[in-house]
Subunit: 180 residues, 2 copies
Amino acid sequence: MKITPMTQSLVLHFGEMGSRWGLNRTLGQMYAVIVLTEAPLNADQISEALQISRSNVSMGLKELKSWNLIKLHHIPGDRKEYFSAPSDIWEIARTLVVERRKRELDPTLSTLRDALMEQPSNESDEYAQMRVQQMHDLMEMVTLWTNEMQGMSSEKLSALLKLGEGISKILDVKDKLLLR
Amino acid sequence: MKITPMTQSLVLHFGEMGSRWGLNRTLGQMYAVIVLTEAPLNADQISEALQISRSNVSMGLKELKSWNLIKLHHIPGDRKEYFSAPSDIWEIARTLVVERRKRELDPTLSTLRDALMEQPSNESDEYAQMRVQQMHDLMEMVTLWTNEMQGMSSEKLSALLKLGEGISKILDVKDKLLLR
DNA sequence: TACAATTTTCACAAATTACTGAAAATTCAG
DNA sequence: CTGAATTTTCAGTAATTTGTGAAAATTGTA
């Protein structure tokens, strides 16, 4: 599959960014080409577009699947598998946030809980445990939020984000509001 | 500096996590030991606690500085520099979010803008540009939010996060609220 | 069931990233 | 200003991560 210069430069950029996003270069490039192309693509097309080996594409697709970032299609009369990204960009964002939480927060939360169960052996352990408690509480709140986010429609999510600076005002009058 | 078994296991965990957090293993470990220790530490203490070379600590501290994650102290009569983490965990979280945005979102936002300036050369470019526009709008909203967050007091941030599932309800009545 | 098409796995190679010790640079007390 | 204490830099090496081709496994059709 040929790729236009515009797509090409976006793909390269998302490759660079991939590594900063907890994915990696190739994964970033692969997802870029999938997101930017309307028609679902098969592995060979991706391999050709990015000039990477077929086996690398296979491994990348496996990982994108584990992130729930791609949809699988079958074309009648064609044995190949075709892949596309959700057409709703909010769905992609929601998935990314939730999956990153799974990878970045959940394991830590569980380690923090373990540490809190232990008996502090001296003063410095006591201080450490206090900090662990703070981190734990904060991360738990973030987890609640991402769960909430997971169940939100794209419209609602968009409305929430559009609040932007309005969020402070809303917080100020929240109590008043919830009383009625 | 000696390290208790509890701190030791937390340090190891944050090392593992460091890589998923856009830092790296050593940076994660270094920050863990700084966060979990009440007294400010000097480079030699960190080097000893983590069993890594002094030069590695120096590079790590440089990076932690660039993330604005550590505070610098001077102890009278001692030429060494001492480092600590903010005592307010919310401040740490706020900094992390803002710094990650700088590294993960800002460069992409600028690339997306560039792509939007280009003249689409054919239909597939038109589709790509449409997606780029969507991504751009979403990321811009996130940027607004993180800016908002940067200016929020820890108390307010905590209140916002505690809303948790309440956020949906608030959204539902937002318009009513803002009218009065 | 047989077999061609397709996908996945995996051992090794290539590329990237992280770590070290030695040397250079900086800092500051006297 | 001197020189000891301290920090930083950097070239080389070590460790980790990523990519490949060949072979194995799976899939689906005739």
